[in-house]
Amino acid sequence: MSKISRRKFLAGSVAGGAAVMMTPAKKALAAGSFEGFPDGMGVLVDFTRCVGCRTCEAACNKEQNLPAPAKPFDDYSVFDEIHHGQPRRPTSKAYTVVNRYETKEEGPVFRKIQCNHCNEPACLTSCFVNAYTKTPEGAVIYNSKVCVGCRNCMIACPFHIPGYTYESVINPVIKKCIFCYDTRLKEGRPPACVESCPQQVMTFGKRAELMNIAHERMRKNPEKYVDHIYGEKEVGGTGWFYISGVPFEELGFDTHLPKEPIINNVKDFLAVVPMVLAIWPALFTGFHLLATKGKSHGHGDDHSHGEEGH
């Protein structure tokens, strides 16, 4: 008995491993073109308007019921914080942060960072338990109930967005900006940060229409903007995209990302993931297959019952 189940388990794991390698391609087909959902919503972010007031951070904290911050949201000393040689990043306790960058032409320029809600999210394709979903409204959301905390998505994300919470040992999960999907986007309302901004740095609307507005702003004021919309093409296009008065490199953006979605690279990517990470998916899918096998077995029984009747 125990021998059989172990062999079954191993077989399951191998199949699981194979399934992981297959999923990216399958999902890519399902998600369709690189434009994402045609009516998907997005946000145009115009850094020439940002004054670094951090009101968006306060709005996010309140809307998402995040823990109290270490410093008040009107404390601007956070702009001087350097963690591990880097300015602040979004974490499991703060889904968005604003940083200040010293630039050559414009002096201090502020940049808000949060999930970019990619058209073809690498987190989604890298996730072997299918915790992530790209909704037709444009949000990249996740189901923390199925998340097993493997952190593949943290490595896959080209923007280093998902944060990891160690608070619950039983259910360690990834946390990130969800475009206020549950409380707002689903009903057609803009995310809390967008609504809170005194300067309307962010404009909410259909991604396709916002893209026109972005081009229009640059045409109206060619001397005010650099000729690049970050997120129009990067990694297959992002739901949140950016226009700026200074080159994006100076604001800490990775300007060497491919134009194609990261999915195409996922196979290569999986190959270089450390063994631990590569084995985890296989193991877990193995468990999963075992569990579901039990269930479908029950089904099969009923079926064969019917056949016996013939």
């Binding site: 709005a59 300067q199 909410f204």
Partner: protein
């Protein structure tokens, strides 16, 4: 409770006063001397805007009012289509710029008539882009509390003042 009550009464008083002032001066100079801008007040109090001082300081009403005061156009881009010879019926920012940050009318105006204007900022942003924009350029006040004090709701929202985090921020930053 007491505090809120008092705020309400002073608020009403100022409102009444500014209404009287606005109406009074309107007839004389065609513009109000002072405007209490407070239709949005929530996290911050309203702003007592010294209109007369700003008129003295600026060269053209169109620095703030577009072409609607009939005094020409300063924005070169707008000047492509507006000569500013005619004045508009609507002058107050809040009568054109919607308070609702996502009213479709801000973002995507009605079909034919407004096909040239699909990028109108909401009211909160119209004020800030205009006021803070100029203050940054010419050295007016730009601190948030230079123009309006935080309300109790605002301190709660920003976790500041009475609601500031109690623990040592240096310790908290490590975890």
């Amino acid at each position: 409770m007491v505090r809120a009550g008092r705020q309400l009464i002073t608020g009403l008083g100022v409102l009444l006063l500014s209404a009287v002032l606005a109406v009074g001066c309107f007839a004389m100079d065609d513009f109000p001397d002072e405007v209490e801008i407070d239709s949005l007040a929530n996290l911050y109090d309203g702003v007592v805007f010294d209109h007369a001082m700003h008129v003295d300081m600026t060269e053209n009403c169109a620095d703030c009012h577009h072409h609607t005061t009939g005094t020409g156009v300063v924005d070169e881009y707008c000047a492509k289509c507006h000569d500013g010879a005619e004045d508009g019926d609507t002058v107050a920012c809040q009568d054109c710029h919607s308070a609702n940050p996502v009213s479709p009318e801000n973002f995507h105006s009605t079909p034919e008539a407004y096909s040239y204007h699909d990028d109108k900022p909401n009211l909160k942003a119209a004020y800030h882009l205009n006021c803070v924009g100029c203050h940054q350029d010419v050295g007016g006040p730009t601190g948030c509390e230079d123009c309006h004090a935080k309300t109790d709701a605002g301190e709660k929202y920003y976790h500041s003042g009475e609601y500031a985090p109690k623990q040592d921020p240096h310790q908290a930053a490590h975890h």
